[in-house]
C-alpha cells in the first residue's frame, strides 16, 4: 500500500522503532478509508444543502452504543455499532415525526432531538460506569473517539462498510448529481426523489456510525461537514469535489490517528477535526478564484483597471461575480440633466 508509507513512517518516528505493528497499520488504513468515505458522502449532503442532516443522528448514537452494551453484555464493536445505527435511524424518525405532529420549528426540533438523545446516552453511560458492569471500561471512548483500542478486525469492518458506501455513491453518481443540482428536473423525469433523498440520509447515518470509533459522537458530524466545505473551495465540478473531499477527510483521519498514537491522553476525534479545520481554513485563504486572497487580488486588479479608466475588459472570472457599476459613471449621468435645468 504505497499511499500509507508516509504516515506509517511518521508513526514510526513518533512512537519509536519496533512499535509499528501490523495492527496499527490496519487500523490506520481502516480509519483512512472511513475519512475518505465520510468526505465523499458528506459532499453530496453539502450539495443537497443539508450539511447538518447527520448531527441529530450522531448525538443519538451514544444511546445506541450504551443500550447495545447492556443488551449483549460485551464490548463487541459490530454489536455496538449496530445499536448505534438503530439509534441514529430512530432519532431521524423521531425528527420526522415531530415535524408531522407538532408545530415546533425545524431547527428547534433538531435541537430537541440532539439534546434529549444525547442525554439518554449520557445517563445510560454514566449508569453503566457507576455500577461498574464488567467489560464496560472504554465505552466513554465513543464520546470523543479513540482509535488506539481498535483491533485489526474492527478496522476491516469499518473499511468494508465505508467502501460499500463509496461504491453506492459511485453507482448512483449521475442520479445524485441531478438530485442535488435540479431536484425539480429529477422529479419531472420520474425519478423517485423521496427515495433517493432517503438513501442519501441513510448513507450519512451509516457514515456517522462508522465514524464513531474514530471521531466520537460529539464531533463525528464534522467528519461529514468540514472536508466537503474545504473541497468546495478548490473545484466547481461534482466529481472532483467528491474525490477532493475524500482525500481531505482521509488526510485529517490519518493525522488524527498518527498524532494521538504518540499522545495517549488525547482523543482522536478533536485532533481529526482540528486537522480538517486547518485544511479548511487554508483552503478559504489560498484557494484559486474562490479563496479570500484570490478575491482580494482580483478586486485590487479590477480597481486599478477602473482607475485607469478601463471599464471594458474584465476577464470571465470577475464577470461571474455581481460587479457593481463603477460609481463615478452613475453620478456623472445623474448630474447631467440637473445642470441642464440650472442653465435654463
Amino acid at each position: 500500500m504505497p499511499p500509507l508509507i508516509g504516515p506509517v513512517s511518521l508513526v514510526a518516528v513518533a512512537s519509536g522503532p519496533g512499535l509499528v505493528s501490523y495492527n496499527t497499520l490496519v487500523v490506520l488504513g481502516g480509519v483512512a478509508t472511513v475519512g475518505f468515505a465520510a468526505g465523499v458522502v458528506g459532499s453530496l449532503a453539502l450539495l443537497r444543502k443539508r450539511p447538518l442532516v447527520g448531527d441529530a443522528a450522531a448525538h443519538a448514537t451514544l444511546a445506541g452504543v450504551a443500550a447495545a452494551f447492556l443488551a449483549t453484555g460485551r464490548r463487541d464493536l459490530p454489536a455496538l455499532l449496530g445499536g448505534a445505527l438503530v439509534a441514529a435511524v430512530a432519532a431521524l424518525a423521531v425528527l420526522v415525526l415531530i415535524r408531522r405532529v407538532a408545530r415546533t420549528r425545524d431547527d428547534a426540533a433538531t435541537a430537541v432531538v440532539i439534546g434529549v438523545s444525547f442525554g439518554i446516552g449520557l445517563a445510560l453511560l454514566a449508569g453503566i460506569t457507576a455500577r461498574g458492569i464488567p467489560g464496560s471500561g472504554g465505552l466513554e471512548q465513543f464520546l470523543l473517539g479513540h482509535t488506539a483500542a481498535l483491533t485489526a478486525g474492527d478496522a476491516r469492518l469499518l473499511a468494508a462498510v465505508s467502501l460499500a458506501a463509496v461504491a453506492i455513491v459511485a453507482l448512483g453518481f449521475k442520479e445524485a448529481v441531478v438530485l442535488c443540482f435540479d431536484p425539480q428536473f429529477a422529479a419531472a423525469t420520474g425519478w423517485p426523489v423521496g427515495l433517493l433523498d432517503l438513501v442519501l440520509v441513510a448513507l450519512v447515518a451509516v457514515m456517522v456510525v462508522v465514524g464513531l470509533p474514530a471521531a466520537g459522537a460529539v464531533l463525528v458530524t464534522a467528519l461529514v461537514v468540514i472536508p466537503p466545505v474545504a473541497a468546495r473551495q478548490w473545484t466547481d465540478r461534482a466529481g472532483p469535489l467528491l474525490v477532493t473531499a475524500g482525500v481531505i477527510g482521509l488526510t485529517a483521519a490519518v493525522t488524527g490517528v498518527v498524532v494521538t498514537a504518540s499522545r495517549p491522553g488525547l482523543s482522536t476525534g478533536p485532533v481529526i477535526v482540528l486537522a480538517a479545520a486547518l485544511i479548511c481554513g487554508v483552503s478559504f485563504l489560498v484557494a484559486p478564484r474562490r479563496g479570500v486572497i484570490a478575491q482580494w487580488l482580483a478586486r485590487v486588479r479590477r480597481e486599478r483597471r477602473w482607475a485607469r479608466g478601463d471599464l471594458s475588459a474584465w476577464d470571465l472570472a470577475d464577470a461571474d461575480e455581481a460587479v457593481p457599476l463603477p460609481l463615478p459613471a452613475v453620478s456623472h449621468v445623474a448630474a447631467v440633466p440637473l445642470r441642464g435645468a440650472d442653465g435654463k
Partner: protein, 426 residues
C-alpha cells in the same frame, strides 16, 4: 449525621441545577422564536475554547474572566460564520457546522493537554460537574453557600435583568426584524445582547451539565412552552417553570438511579416535551384526536337519524324498513340512539322519537338547502350535488340555513324535487 450532610450537598446541587436551568430556559425562549436554536447549540459548543483559555490564563471557573472569554468565543463564532458566508459564499448552516465543531475540538485539545495544570478535563467538559459543585463553598452573609450556586444566581439575575431591560426591543426584533429596524431599534445591538446572554447562560450550563447538553437546557423548555401557550411573556414564564421542574426532577432521578444528573435532566426535559406534544390543549395529539373523534361521532349520529327520516319519507309513514348502516361507527351510533330512546324498533320497522325527528329534519333541511343553493350557483350537474351536501349538512347552522332560504326565495323544493322541511320552531 452523614446522611444529613449528603442531603445538604444534594439539595445545594439541585438548587444550582434549577438556577442554571432557569437562566437557559429564559434565553431559550427568544432563541426558539427567532429560529436560532441551532445557533444556541453552536454557541454552547464554541464557548469551550474561550473558557479553556481564560482558565489557562489564571481565571477561575465561574469568575469574570471565564465569562468574558466565553462571550468573546460566542461572538467570534457568529462573526466567523458570517465572515465565511460573506468571504467565500458558504451557506450559513454549513459555516456554523464548520466553526463550532472546530472551536469545540480546539477547546477539547487545550483542556486535554493542560489537564494537569487546570481544574478542567474532558470528562467534566462532557458531563458537567454538578455533583461536585456543593463542595467548593464561599461564605455569604454568615451562610456557607456553594460558589457554583452563587454564580448561577448572579447569572440568572444578570440574564433576566439584561433581557428585561431590552424586552420590548427583543420581542419586536424577534417577530418582525424589518419593522423593528425601520422603527429605529438597534437590531444588531439587540441581537448581540441576546447572543451575549446565551453565552453567559451557556457557561453556567456548561459547568452544570457539560457542553453538549446545554442545548437541551436552552431549547427544550422553550419548545415545550411554545406548544402550551400563545403569548411571548407566558412562553418565557412557562419555559422557566419547565426548566426548573425538569432540573429538580432530573437531579432527583439521577440521585435515585445513580447516574449522570446532566443526562437525566435532559431526559426529563425530553419527557416534558413529549407530554406537551401529546397533551397540549388545542393542538396536542390527544386534543386533536378527541376533537376529530367527536366530530366523527356527531356525523355518524346525524347520518343515522337522517337515513331513518328519509326512509320514513320515502315510505310515507312514521316507521320504515332501514338498511344496514354503512360504517361501524354509524352502527355504534344507531345502537346508542336506540338506547337513548331516540330511535325505536317496532316489528322490523324503525321509528324516530319527536326529538329525533326534529334533529333529523334539520340535517335533511341543511342537506337539501345546500343542494338547492349549489344547483343555482355552482352549475354542477344534478348528480354531483349530493356528495358536497352530504358533507356540509353537518356544518351548516340555523343562521346559515335561514340565509340560504331567504336568498333562494323559491319554493320549498330541492333540485331533486323533494320537499325541504321547515326550520324547527324555537
Amino acid at each position: 449525621m452523614a446522611s444529613d450532610a449528603s442531603l445538604t450537598v444534594h439539595a445545594w446541587a439541585m438548587a444550582t441545577a434549577a438556577m442554571v436551568s432557569a437562566s437557559c430556559g429564559l434565553v431559550g425562549g427568544l432563541l426558539v422564536v427567532r429560529r436560532m436554536s441551532l445557533l444556541g447549540d453552536a454557541i454552547a459548543h464554541a464557548v469551550l475554547p474561550g473558557i479553556a483559555v481564560a482558565v489557562l490564563a489564571g481565571g477561575s471557573l465561574g469568575g469574570p474572566a471565564v465569562f468574558a472569554g466565553a462571550v468573546a468565543a460566542a461572538l467570534a463564532t457568529v462573526w466567523l460564520t458570517q465572515a465565511i458566508h460573506a468571504g467565500v459564499g458558504l451557506a450559513e448552516d454549513a459555516g456554523a457546522g464548520v466553526v463550532f465543531t472546530s472551536l469545540f475540538a480546539l477547546g477539547v485539545v487545550i483542556v486535554t493537554l493542560a489537564a494537569s495544570r487546570i481544574d478542567l478535563d474532558p470528562e467534566c467538559v462532557l458531563f458537567g460537574i454538578l455533583e461536585l459543585a456543593a463542595f467548593d463553598r464561599v461564605r455569604v452573609g454568615g451562610l456557607l453557600v456553594p460558589r457554583a450556586f452563587v454564580t448561577a444566581v448572579v447569572v440568572f439575575l444578570g440574564v433576566a435583568g439584561g433581557l428585561a431591560a431590552s424586552w420590548r426591543w427583543q420581542v419586536f426584533t424577534a417577530f418582525d426584524p424589518a419593522a423593528a429596524r425601520a422603527a429605529g431599534i438597534p437590531v444588531g445591538l439587540v441581537t448581540s445582547l441576546l447572543l451575549a446572554a446565551t453565552a453567559v447562560a451557556a457557561v453556567a450550563g456548561f459547568e452544570a451539565v457539560g457542553a453538549v447538553l446545554v442545548v437541551a437546557m436552552l431549547v427544550v423548555p422553550a419548545a415545550t412552552a411554545e406548544l402550551l401557550v400563545q403569548r411571548m411573556h407566558w412562553l418565557v414564564v412557562v419555559a422557566v417553570g419547565v426548566a426548573i421542574a425538569a432540573a429538580c426532577g432530573g437531579y432527583a432521578l439521577a440521585w435515585r438511579w445513580n447516574t449522570s444528573a446532566a443526562g437525566m435532566i435532559a431526559v426529563v426535559l425530553g419527557g416534558c416535551y413529549a407530554v406537551a406534544v401529546l397533551m397540549a390543549p388545542g393542538d396536542g395529539i390527544l386534543a386533536r384526536a378527541i376533537a376529530r373523534l367527536r366530530l366523527e361521532w356527531r356525523v355518524a349520529r346525524e347520518d343515522c337519524l337522517a337515513r331513518i327520516w328519509r326512509a320514513c319519507e320515502a315510505e310515507g309513514r312514521d316507521a320504515a324498513h332501514v338498511g344496514d348502516p354503512q360504517t361501524w361507527l354509524e352502527r355504534m351510533a344507531g345502537l346508542w340512539l336506540e338506547r337513548r330512546g331516540v330511535v325505536r324498533r317496532k316489528n322490523g320497522c324503525v321509528t324516530l322519537s319527536d326529538h329525533g325527528r326534529r334533529e333529523a329534519e334539520m340535517v335533511v333541511r341543511s342537506h337539501r338547502l345546500w343542494e338547492a343553493w349549489l344547483g343555482r350557483h355552482a352549475e354542477l350537474p344534478i348528480d354531483h350535488l349530493h356528495p358536497p351536501a352530504e358533507w356540509l349538512e353537518h356544518h351548516v347552522g340555523a343562521a346559515m340555513r335561514d340565509q340560504i332560504e331567504a336568498e333562494l326565495s323559491a319554493g320549498q323544493v330541492d333540485p331533486h324535487g323533494r320537499t325541504i322541511p321547515p326550520e324547527a320552531a324555537g
